[in-house]
């Protein structure tokens, strides 16, 4: 399974240590990987292989500039062309809700909406999203008011470890929007792109049913 990349460019969480002195799991990981990354980077820069600045430039992988809207906010970034939307969200924008499970389009943990359609962000090259509108799990609630499906996951107790949950919820939002909620069987089939290792499927189906029924 995935790990936090050592060179993780997670921006320093804003406000950490100011309004909230207690370190969260996220700020702790970001801080420690930043320290680890500095040590590794020092080793590489000091090495003989990349000492010539021209050689470094010649080997620099192609990058592109991309502007897109994420959860209603216009964002611009310059990315290595190989960057996935998932890595753009997590490592450039600090939106760590979408999860890296398989990184191969097989588990659904990275599901986000692009222009209203649910997709696997791990298989989406960020460079291709010029002008796109992306919605992640972070963009579903309205202020402190949870999205009805987020509330339904709590009401139905539809998760255990929670790792797949952001992908399940975003996928469920897509499933409801597409209208594939006619029966528990139909929900199961149309939610099959989201794997839950804890096996919370019965309650996930109930949460989707609950939310679809309210509409």
């Amino acid at each position: 399974m995935s790990t936090e990349p050592p060179e993780s460019a997670v921006p320093p969480p804003t406000g950490a240590g100011e309004s909230s002195p207690a370190p969260t799991r996220r700020t702790f990981i970001a801080t420690t990987t930043a320290v680890g990354g500095a040590v590794v980077a020092g080793g590489v820069i000091g090495g003989p292989l990349l000492s010539d600045p021209e050689a470094v430039a010649a080997q620099a992988p192609p990058t592109s500039r991309v502007s897109l809207t994420v959860n209603g906010t216009r964002r611009t970034a310059t990315v290595d062309n190989r960057t996935s939307l998932l890595d753009l969200l997590r490592e450039h924008f600090g939106l760590t809700g979408a999860k890296k499970g398989c990184n191969a389009g097989a588990c659904g943990a990275c599901t986000v909406l692009v222009d209203g359609h649910r997709v696997n962000s791990c298989l989406t090259l960020a460079v291709r999203l010029e002008g796109a509108e992306v919605t992640t799990i972070e963009g579903l609630a309205e202020g402190d008011r949870l999205h009805p499906l987020q509330q339904a996951f709590i009401d139905q107790d539809a998760f255990q470890c929670g790792y797949c949950t952001p992908g399940q919820i975003v996928s469920g939002v897509g499933c409801i929007k597409e209208g594939h909620t006619g029966s528990p069987e139909e929900i199961r089939e149309w939610m099959s792109g989201n794997i839950c290792r804890c096996g919370c499927y019965v309650k996930i189906v109930r949460a989707v049913e609950q939310t679809a029924g309210r509409k």
């Binding site: 389009g105 659904g108 696997n120 291709r128 010029e130 939610m191």
Partner: protein
């Protein structure tokens, strides 16, 4: 993933120019990006074709259907004309992949998708398709999911697409645009059996771009459907599958179109089964006798002998479902 340059094109001529210069087309990217991450695919330039005007489904003047190469799998599956005229196509699409992947992947990309053979995807394994001349690790390896039809000593990998099986059954044609103009290739000639050159998978010339898949008109009424047998109920590739379309009038089968998936190195048309059906009256005995020919010529490997019988049963069941007689 190896570094690559990226370019976006907005008209088909520009695309073909970029393709002719060695650029690799990317549409949905669901196969390509995955294989690039595994370094199985190492394109130097990606040509993003999603801005091209190839996203329409139109009725042809002859009564068939033309599906643009950039129509997504979910759009095609949900399209009213596809659902009413060719249920076998919409069913094959909806039994493929996941809702997320179907929102991304396109019809053109679907028929271009590469095999799921684990040795092909593992760059440390011998694979003639990925590295010609290196050998085939699947031939004497774990080959439970591999092909029993159309194989060669060089490659036994299956073609993974479902909708390609429906297209093969319906005798669709692939519309291509290349540096020298347009041409239409029968589906059965588009995907190539491995022979001694398994690295060559489609009858595409350099720079050629798929612009559409055209399903020909078939006599009406036409009943059709797709059955997929797999290790789990959803979100899995086929062990076996059957695409069936029947034109029955006056109680007699006048036309039959049958193809199988999960068993061939390409979607496997079953002309012997079709011939057995035409001119006959639907009956349980007919379905059984016709399906008995489905595995003709099969050459099973150590771990996939079960597919020989499973294929016959898959075809028989789908003939019964579509033909409507017990």
């Amino acid at each position: 993933m190896h570094p690559f340059s990226y370019t976006r094109v907005s008209d088909t001529r520009e695309a073909v120019d970029a393709g002719r210069r060695g650029g690799r087309y990317i549409a949905g990217g669901t196969t390509l990006v995955d294989l690039m991450r595994e370094t199985v695919e190492r394109p130097e330039t990606l040509v993003d074709i999603t801005g091209l005007p190839l996203g329409e489904i139109t009725a042809t003047e002859r009564g068939g259907l033309r599906i643009g190469a950039l129509v997504t799998m979910s759009e095609a599956a949900a399209h009213a004309k596809v659902r009413t005229l060719y249920p076998v196509v919409s069913e094959a699409l909806e039994l493929s992949a996941s809702a997320q992947l179907r929102n991304m992947a396109t019809i053109g990309g679907n028929i271009m998708q590469r095999t799921r053979c684990t040795y092909f995807r593992d760059v440390t394994a011998d694979c003639n398709k990925r590295d010609p001349g290196s050998g085939c690790a699947a031939l004497h390896g774990v080959n439970r999911t591999h092909a029993i039809l159309g194989t060669s000593g060089a490659c036994v990998a299956t073609h993974p697409s479902d909708v390609a099986v429906a297209f093969a059954a319906l005798e669709a044609r692939v519309h291509l645009l290349g540096p020298d103009g347009t041409r239409r290739v029968p589906f059965s000639d588009f995907l190539l059996r491995p022979g001694s050159t398994p690295q060559r998978e489609q009858a595409l010339l350099k720079g050629e771009l798929i612009t559409a898949v055209e399903i020909p008109a078939l006599p009406r009424p036409l009943r059709s459907g797709y059955l997929k047998v797999r290790d789990r109920q959803s979100y899995e590739f086929a062990l076996t599958s059957a695409a069936v379309a029947l034109h029955i009038r006056g109680g007699v089968i006048r036309e039959a179109r049958v193809a199988a998936g999960g068993v061939g190195t390409v979607p496997w048309k079953l002309p012997a089964v079709e011939r057995h059906l035409v001119g006959e009256r639907p009956s349980g005995a007919l379905w059984s006798a016709a399906a008995a020919k489905a595995s003709d010529g099969a050459r099973p490997l150590q771990h996939n002998r079960f597919k020989v019988e499973l294929l016959k049963r898959t075809v028989e069941r789908q003939l019964r479902v579509v033909g409507g007689t017990k």
